[in-house]
Structures are given as C-alpha cells and as structure tokens.
C-alpha cells in the first residue's frame, strides 16, 4: 500500500465496492466530510466517484483506499493532527 503501509491502520472494510465504502461511512459515523477525488488524506490521494466520504471519530480518520486488484479498503487511522485538519475543513 505504499506509504499507507507505514501507518498503524485498522481495516474496517476490505474488498468492498466504492459505493459500499461510502455508504458505510455515512451510516456509521455521525461526523464525516465529503471531498473530491484526488483529495489528500495523510499522503494518500483518495480515489472514487465523487463525492468521497471521509469519516471522523474522535482522533480517528476513516477513509477509502483503492487498489486496482483488491477493490476499496476502508481504513481507520488514529492521528490527532490529521483529524483536526479535516474537522477544520468542515467549518
């Protein structure tokens, strides 16, 4: 997963479709923001059909990560700084 490999991530969903990933975030997280493809979360440019949902849960960021052979993974990463940056963009 490139730079994602170096993150301490938890896989929330694996081998999902993009739509399943977006619906999961909308249904399971009260706090989320919607961004356009190519938006950078950590060092990852998110891939998908716009709008792309990114969840926030305290200091955790939940975002989709797509691989050509394995579909979309929904990853959960704890990062206070990145969560705060994304939260600020909602305002």
């Amino acid at each position: 997963m490139g730079c994602v490999e170096s993150m301490n991530y938890e896989i929330v969903l694996r081998d999902a479709t993009f739509r399943e990933s977006r619906d999961y975030i909308r249904d399971h997280f009260k706090e989320f923001l919607e961004v356009q493809p190519g938006f950078k979360v950590f060092d990852v440019h998110v891939i998908g059909l716009p709008p792309i949902a990114i969840g926030l849960d305290g200091d955790f960021v939940i975002f989709p990560y797509t691989k050509p052979c394995h579909g979309t993974f929904l990853l959960r990463v704890e990062d206070k700084t990145e969560a705060a940056r994304l939260r600020a963009m909602k305002k």
Partner: protein, 171 residues
C-alpha cells in the same frame, strides 16, 4: 528491470526518460492485470496512438506495468511508465496534463479510477470496459466519458473491434 538500447537500466514504475512534450499525449490507466486482454489491448492502443502522432504514457500498478515492460523489452510501443498512485498525484498537483485518457475497467476499482481521472484531469476521457461482467461495470459509469465496451476476457478481438469503431486516435 531491463536494459534499453542506450544501455540505461529501466525500472518498472519509473519514467524511462525525461517526460516528453505535453502536446498530443495520452495516459493509459491500467487496471488489475488479472484479465488477459488488458496487456494485449494496451500494446495495440499504444501502437495506434503512436502512429497518429500521440505519445502514450502508461500508468499502472507494478504487476500491470511489468507485464508490458517484459513484453516490449526494446520499447517498440512502450514509452514512459509511471506508477498509478504517482500518476494520480502528479495530475492532482497540476504537474502533468494529458490530452487523452484511457482507463481500463473490469472491476469496481477500475470505475473508481476512471471517475477520479474524470474529476482531476481535463483530458478527454475514454473508458475501456471488458471482462466477463463488463455490463455490470458499465452500468456504474455515470460521469462524462466515451464508453468502449465488449465482452472480452481471453480474446482481445471484440474489444479491439469496439475501439476501432470509435477510433479515438482520429478524434
């Protein structure tokens, strides 16, 4: 890894040489290479584009890129090869632009990459939809692009025929 006629080492996933001029360029975004027709059609499309004076650039994951690099050791068809995630970053950051973009689709991830290219790039977008379940994937495409679709898994001819009918190199 291979050696070019100039004796340079060519590493899959990195540009073969200095990026070429931006006019008349086409980005070919490869999907997972598990469906055999992809590599064949990519070589075919690169050849047609080059004959029309359009410079093709390949963007794929390591496996997809390596299949092409190994098949075209002397780079008769293949030019610049870029890692897929890096290509997305370069386009998003405005460091690279292309006139045409072709996205190979046979699964959900392919549709996601195509939508992304449609959003981040100003290139004229073509999607090549193939595989056993090509109709299912084609239904997910609701963004502006030219759809070229055919049921092609092992035999590339149905997809080649569909591409020839559109003739994107002449558009």
């Amino acid at each position: 890894m291979s050696t070019s006629s100039q004796g340079r080492e060519i590493v899959s996933g990195e540009p073969m040489a200095k990026p070429m001029a931006q006019a008349g360029t086409a980005l070919l975004v490869l999907g997972c290479p598990q469906v055999p027709v992809q590599t064949s059609i990519a070589l075919y499309l690169m050849n047609r584009l080059k004959k029309a004076g359009i410079t093709p650039v390949i963007a794929g994951n390591k496996a997809a890129n390596t299949l092409l690099v190994v098949a075209d050791q002397d780079r008769h068809y293949l030019g610049e090869v870029i890692d897929l995630d890096r290509a997305v970053g370069l386009i998003t950051d405005g460091k690279r632009t292309f006139d045409l973009c072709f996205v190979f689709i046979h699964n959900d991830a392919g549709v996601s990459y195509a939508a992304t290219m449609g959003s981040i790039s100003k290139a004229r977008l073509y999607v090549l939809v193939y595989g056993e379940h090509y109709e299912e994937q084609a239904k997910k495409i609701d963004f502006p692009c030219t759809v070229i679709a055919a049921k092609a898994v092992h035999n590339p001819l149905p997809l080649k025929k569909a591409i020839d009918e559109v003739a994107p190199w002449a558009a």
